[in-house]
Symmetry: C2
């Protein structure tokens, strides 16, 4: 396992639990490597030179811009390698190997919350059918939600995920800040957050939309803009998201 | 019950189930009034003149801009009245009554999904202590999560709710659209949406943040902006939300 960040930690733990052996964890941060190695009963190193050269599979759970740097600095020629990125094309490996692919679990991970992979969608891609079937076998061992997805579609899925997860979480953050300023507990809106995500289990999100922008309630929209007076970023977000909601109403 | 929209329908159903009697449902749309009346074993009318004048409590579940219009057109002088708005001050009733308040369930409602009120926060406010205690009694009969909240704080809670719910749902909508265009099922990101909301049960949303903006991954940020080329609104949302996330990183 190359990388011991949020995704690496969760993925290595799931792979370890499924019965596969994590031979070694590599991370530039020795402490991260050590911690994850302990969790997965593996060896660890923070030195490129000490990476074990006989593993069956090298999983590069690295930030996008670190993947190419890693491939260039560490010649793992013709080793079976995958990356875990939503956006990097599978072809990034072409100059370095002839058996490679992608192993992209579409989920939000934090080191301090280890997730069960059973229902996590794992999008795989291989440089050929044989590699794809090898990856399918591994993926199915940790999740029952595995699919082959092309680099082009995976990129789109990643963009969608940024809106549905990263941006959604930032909406929660802004809400938390608005409440904190007035000494109102975040607990007040927790049931609302849960129900908002529950609703889209049953209906298309466009049909679940509610609120002042959808109702074209211009009085509230302008009152809210005034309340955000000092928050330039939040005001812009409020204004453009409202405008986008309005543009979808009849 | 004055109004038979998303909130009125859910609230009247909860009140009815709790054992109180909904005497009558009023809605300008006769069909909406009839449907909700049927659900709650009540009479119904779409004529202002036929509103029953001897009810113990009049709940105005109307859009903000309709509340004042209703109060002016229908003289319910000195009747016990509440509205259900997040933003309207309690004082809106002052010229019309001397017993009035607010009954604001902080949740997202749709007519076709009737919610259990047990855990829904109900924010109440009364024009005096006696009224507040009357409202507290009613609210506690349908929810175990009732609190007195001033008009000023309620307004802030409503603004926070717009971000945490309405804007979040729009993020889901954009994600759905991005996926649909490439014939990718929305199911692919449902587990992500669920986990994103699960995470903030345990941690502050600022600590749950992940994604390219947090990682300052400028390569992905600019690639995503290019992918959104034709969607002016989405590009602006992407850019300003990312900027806001970036502004919070060290």
């Amino acid at each position: 396992m190359i990388g011991a960040g949020n995704l690496g930690t969760n993925l290595a733990t799931a792979i370890h639990k499924s019965g596969y052996q994590i031979v070694q964890v590599f991370s530039r941060t020795s402490e991260s490597a050590r911690k994850l190695a302990k969790k997965t009963n593996a060896l660890y190193t923070s030195s490129l030179d000490e990476i074990y050269p006989y593993a069956d599979l090298y999983i590069l759970a690295l930030p996008d811009d670190a993947v190419l740097g890693f491939l260039k600095s560490k010649k793992l020629n013709n080793f079976f390698m995958v990356h875990t990125s939503g956006s990097l094309p599978v072809s990034v490996f072409k100059p370095f190997s002839n058996k490679f692919g992608v192993f992209y679990p579409l989920q939000t991970f934090s080191k301090n919350k280890i997730l069960n992979f059973t229902d996590i969608p794992v999008c795989i891609e291989g440089n050929d059918k044989r590699t794809e079937s090898d990856l399918m076998k591994i993926a199915k061992n940790i999740s029952r939600n595995v699919m082959v997805l092309s680099s082009e579609k995976r990129k789109q899925a990643h963009l969608a995920a940024v809106f549905a997860c990263n941006f959604t979480n930032h909406m929660y953050t802004i809400a938390d800040e608005i409440l904190s300023r007035k000494n109102i507990s975040f607990d007040l809106i927790r049931p609302l957050i849960q129900e908002t995500s529950e609703k889209v289990k049953l209906m298309k999100p466009a049909l679940a939309q509610t609120g002042p922008a959808l109702r074209k309630d211009k009085q509230i929209l302008s009152a809210h803009m005034k309340m955000l007076a000092k928050d330039e970023n939040y005001k812009k977000i409020y204004s453009f998201v409202s405008k986008s909601i309005l543009s979808k109403t009849k």
